[in-house]
């Protein structure tokens, strides 16, 4: 048992870091402007294809391509915010949910027309490393490391830089922040951009070790919802920890039962947490 359990545990844990930064993007957007971004999955898929295209056509190293993907994700987020979200920000929840969902439909529609739904593969391998008796693909280790670096940078940005402080002020109280002279529309656009940037980065990292299709972002979007609820909506560090928990569960559950039951467990867990502690396991009590 132990020789099966330990490798799948480590596999799941490393994957959990990537889930974590995808969920962090969702969580950040929710925390700052109370919007659930239903275009999250397609953005993850765009991140995947960003890495795939720059690797296959520009011959770029996938890890360098991540920088391009991050910039693209940031810009895409700002555009989405300006076009679809800003106008309905103060309308009921239904409007922002549907506005971001329409962005989802637009991206998926164009993406399917361009790439069809067949799988693509980033043909780049770093080999695997041995940790004692366990062999782990280096790309997974690199992805986990990248996820940790991104989290650290995000926290430095939010707590040490001026725009980061603006973001936290707007999240805390938009009205008061505006009275202090903070340009809230620009800050909101920036936060939305950061959220989609994290999603695109997560997608790019996934592309380095899994085959991708234009629709595969959907699965990660659903996982991000589960994780965000685990860690507490609007709590980025909680999202990372939630990601680790979910990754570990995904690694361990298939050892004991059939893989196809994993989503049932995940979503039952998800609904239960929503019911018992809607603020999340690590969120503040409400």
């Amino acid at each position: 048992m132990a020789e099966v359990l330990l490798p799948s545990l480590i596999d799941g844990l490393l994957l959990g870091f990537v889930y974590g930064i995808a969920a962090m993007g969702l969580s950040l957007i929710w925390g700052v402007m109370n919007v659930i971004n239903l275009a999250h999955g397609p953005i993850i898929a765009l991140g995947m294809f960003g890495v795939y295209l720059s690797f296959s056509y520009l011959g770029l190293n996938p890890y360098l391509a991540l920088i391009l993907v991050a910039i693209g994700g940031l810009l895409a987020g700002v555009v989405i915010y300006a076009v679809a979200v800003h106008r309905v920000l103060n309308a009921p929840h239904l409007s922002t949910l549907l506005a971001t969902f329409s962005v989802n439909m637009i991206i998926i529609g164009l993406g399917t027309a361009a790439f069809s739904v067949s799988p693509y593969n980033v043909d780049y391998s770093l080999g695997s490393a041995s940790l004692g008796s366990i062999r782990v693909p280096v790309s997974r280790l690199a992805a986990a490391l990248a996820a940790i670096i991104v989290t650290a940078l995000l926290y430095l940005f939010l707590y040490r830089s001026r725009p980061g402080k603006y973001i936290r002020a707007v999240a805390n109280n938009r009205g008061a922040a505006e009275l202090m002279g903070i340009p809230s529309a620009r800050v909101l656009a920036l936060s939305f951009g950061l959220g989609t940037m994290l999603a695109a980065l997560a997608g790019g990292l996934i592309a380095t070790f899994f085959p991708i299709t234009i629709l595969s972002g959907g699965g990660y979007e659903l996982r991000s919802f589960v994780i965000v609820v685990l860690g507490g909506l609007g709590n980025p560090l909680g999202a990372l920890i939630g990601g680790l928990i979910l990754g570990t569960l995904e690694g361990v559950i298939p050892v004991f039962t059939i893989t196809t039951w994993v989503p049932v467990f995940e979503f039952v867990l998800f609904v239960l947490i929503l019911l018992v502690r809607p603020s999340g396991l690590l969120g503040r009590r409400t």
Partner: protein
């Protein structure tokens, strides 16, 4: 109640009756199929509207009730050999019962949290049916062809299903109007506007919300049975099409949420549009994108949908369009 004097009541019914009678008079199968598809959309949209439009709760899991009712009804027909007129209400009741249980649990959540929970319910239901063996697992179930003999053969059975759907849509639109104009409907609309204030004014929100959820779930349950009775076989992928939940929301928004006529126009209009896009070479591949742009434009600029826009643009119509 004197609902027959109100055009808001009989106008939608007359429209459905005319659409339903058209293929019956001409006897053309092609027209029947087009109207059948449109009526399914209309009925799904109208039933969702009771929760989404009147009560203001966004559900991304409406298709769960369609799929569950279909599976229960189909199981009764294929495994227990029970007739359609028992299986269809049973499908509806089981969907309503599921909604009752779910409602007790997740309707405590508000706004975005409720919407998220319904996404979870939708996914969990699909994964569950995929793994549950009595329902055939991923392969699904099929009806023996001889089952249709009791309905005068397969060709006659298709007409029977069509008439049943027309009648069901008529009942649904009548219920939709009666709910909206009743005291119950007023309390739902009060919850939509401000749930806390509604409770202070004496609306018992938990039970009102649960009943709205149950009513909106019974109809898709019955429709599911009719749809798959006509189809002859059922699979998890067909019964739990997640994107159909979303398309239903688009239909409600297109026609006008919170109105009786809106989902009727929205459902029929959306199907018409989709049909046109699918056969237009330029839009064939990107029909999803076109639907997305349409939805975005509606949300940003005409949040009231067609009926809402007409009502605010031409005040005269407020007495005609409910």
């Amino acid at each position: 109640m004197n609902a027959w004097n109100k055009p808001g009541f009989w106008l939608p019914l007359a429209l459905v009756l005319a659409a339903g009678a058209w293929p019956l008079i001409t006897g053309r199968e092609a027209t029947r199929e087009v109207i059948f598809t449109a009526l399914i959309s209309v009925a799904l949209a109208s039933s969702l509207n009771i929760l989404l439009g009147y009560t203001g709760y966004v559900s991304f899991g409406h298709i769960v009730f369609f799929g569950l009712g279909a599976y229960v009804g189909f199981y009764m027909m294929s495994a227990l050999d029970l007739p359609l007129y028992l299986a269809a209400p049973a499908g509806g009741l089981s969907a309503g019962f599921l909604a009752f249980l779910l409602g007790k649990a997740i309707l405590r959540l508000r706004g975005a949290y409720f919407a998220l929970a319904t996404i979870g319910v939708n996914e969990a239901a699909r994964a569950f049916v995929n793994n549950f063996d009595p329902f055939g697992g991923p392969i699904g179930m099929r009806l023996n062809f001889r089952f249709y003999d009791a309905y005068g053969g397969a060709a006659r059975a298709l007409w029977t299903t069509f008439v049943a759907l027309v009648v069901l849509t008529l009942i649904l639109l009548a219920v939709s109007y009666l709910v909206k104009s009743s005291k119950f409907g007023l309390s739902l609309q009060a919850i939509r506007e401000n749930e806390d204030a509604a409770q202070v004014m004496g609306v018992f929100a938990p039970s009102a919300k649960t009943w709205a959820f149950v009513i909106s779930a019974i109809f898709p349950g019955i429709i599911g049975v009719l749809f798959f009775f006509k189809n002859g076989n059922i699979e998890p992928g067909d019964a739990f099409r997640l994107h159909l939940s979303i398309e239903t929301i688009v239909m409600v928004m297109l026609g006008g949420q919170g109105t009786v006529l809106g989902p009727l126009l929205g459902g029929a209009g959306y199907q018409r549009l989709r049909g046109t896009l699918l056969v237009t070479p330029l839009f064939k591949d990107i029909q999803l994108t076109v639907a997305g742009v349409l939805l975005l434009v509606i949300i940003l600029f005409v949040p009231g949908g067609v009926v809402g826009w007409l009502r605010s643009r031409f005040p005269v119509l407020r007495r005609v369009l409910e």
